[in-house]
């Protein structure tokens, strides 16, 4: 029993790792631009398909592919900002609708290019760290956990220690006052989109060898990500990380000890309970909720 708990804990940690990468990007984009990026799950999907295209089909070294996935999806994010969100800046509903349209375009393009069936990604590493008979951690999962810690730490350092990091936080807190400091919203929105999209892309690229890669894989991720950012408090990056961890643990444990459908229901209940007890989310403040 103890072993099962530890094993489930490790599984949850892995889920928490890639969920936080996705949720943090979503929160960052919402914070700076006021737009709910419904296409975020599809950016995750694109990251996975970069691996399908380059690693599975052309055997480009995996590390290089992951880096390319990060940069490529980041650039797709910048293009989204420029082509859609910038033009719809005073129109949050328009931004939301545009992101839903873009989500469908991405799904259609990927389906046309790669087919709608599950794509096969050969394992990058077969190695498994064996703690005991029933506690094992595949190295690919460890890579996801370590990468998430690394990227989130880097993001935190960027936001708190650099000039553009302050600019991003300032824009998220008061866009007009930020403009009065000479901070261009076009610039901060572009940076936020690049970071948010590239984190979703790297999450997709890192998990691709572990999950079923298909054009609709963004769905389940985006639902979970929304629960996470609502639980965490819509404007809060720390809240998003903490809520991703809480959600991943609850979801993984319920899946293991009951089943996946019940886990989805429990996840939604978790969100409801938080909304009833603290409508702004665990870390949220009223003005952003």
């Amino acid at each position: 029993m103890a072993e099962l708990l530890v094993q489930t804990g490790l599984n949850a940690l892995y889920a928490a790792a890639y969920m936080s990468l996705i949720a943090v990007g979503l929160v960052l984009i919402f914070g700076v631009m006021g737009i709910i990026n419904f296409a975020h799950g599809e950016l995750f999907m694109l990251g996975a398909y970069v691996v399908v295209a380059l690693y599975a089909d052309f055997q480009v070294p995996y590390v290089l592919v992951a880096a390319l996935g990060l940069v490529f999806v980041g650039c797709v994010g910048v293009a989204m900002e420029w082509a859609m969100f910038r033009r719809l800046r005073d129109n949050p509903l328009g931004g939301l609708v545009a992101s839903i349209g873009f989500l469908m375009i991405l799904q259609a393009l990927v389906s046309m290019g790669f087919g709608v069936r599950m794509a096969h990604v050969p394992p990058v590493t077969q190695e498994v760290i064996i703690f005991s008979e029933r506690v094992r951690l595949p190295v690919q999962r460890l890579i996801v956990i370590l990468a998430a810690i690394g990227f989130l730490t880097a993001l935190w350092a960027f936001l708190t220690k650099t000039r553009f990091g302050w600019a991003l936080r300032a824009s998220a807190q008061d866009q007009e006052a930020a403009a009065l400091q000479g901070i261009s919203i076009n610039q901060t929105a572009g940076i936020a989109m690049f970071i948010g999209a590239s984190l979703a892309g790297i999450a997709g690229a890192l998990t691709a060898p572990l999950i079923s890669v298909n054009p609709h894989m963004g769905h389940s991720v985006i639902v979970a990500a929304f629960i996470v950012i609502i639980v965490g408090g819509v404007g809060s990056l720390e809240g998003a990380v903490l809520a991703a961890v809480i959600y991943a643990f609850v979801h993984t444990f319920v899946t293991t000890f009951a089943d996946g459908v019940i886990a989805d229901v429990v996840g939604l209940l978790l969100m409801l309970v938080v909304l009833i007890i603290k409508p702004t989310g665990l870390f949220g403040t009223a003005d952003r909720a």
């Binding site: 936080r169 006052a177 009065l180 901070i183």
Partner: protein
Amino acid sequence: MLLEMKRASVNYGSVSAIRDISLAVPEGGIVTIIGGNGAGKTTTLRAISGLARVGAGEIHFNGERIDKLSVDKIVGRGIAHVPEGRRVFPDLTVEENLRTGAFLRRDKPAVEADLESVYGRFSRLRERRKQLAKTMSGGEQQMLAIGRALMSKPKLLLLDEPSMGLAPVIVEDIARIIEEIKGQGVPVVLVEQNAELALDLADYAYVLETGTLALEGPAAELHDNAHVRAAYLGV
């Protein structure tokens, strides 16, 4: 003239906020804009810094037309705007707030020196440099907002109701600071509902009423003007 607004009008949708406003700010003085609620004072400042778009008319700064530039470009030209309600960044620390004021500056050593001089002027800010701005009192937040604006090393400072909601002793502090800023050669456009304070500090004054210019003249003259005394000074 450092700044010239020529027959500027601003509309919010179909609502006209200011009409046909002309004003001029010379080098090194304090110009004040007074007027009642909704007279268009804030809108006038917002037009200068680019937050509001002028529908008609022109604004020139240092000989260059600026009314079509984006806000960050206008800030880059040397106009710092302390907005109504202070608008400090609530979840940044005091020091981070001050540093965002220097966002466009590349002269690092000078930025550090200016940070020191802001701390020298506002010792409360130095004591609280690591504190989040939202935990500061109203007066401290006003000092922070002014300090943040000074960090951009402005050629012109726009202040929107710096005395709003502050206790009389704090208002005196703010008045002293505005005079010091003028003393250092930075011209100030001061918007105030506190006409007594504004006319005391300013060299030249404009009176706005329902979006149009009602009166203008040297501050001392307006101070003695019968209409101004009755309408704004309550005597």
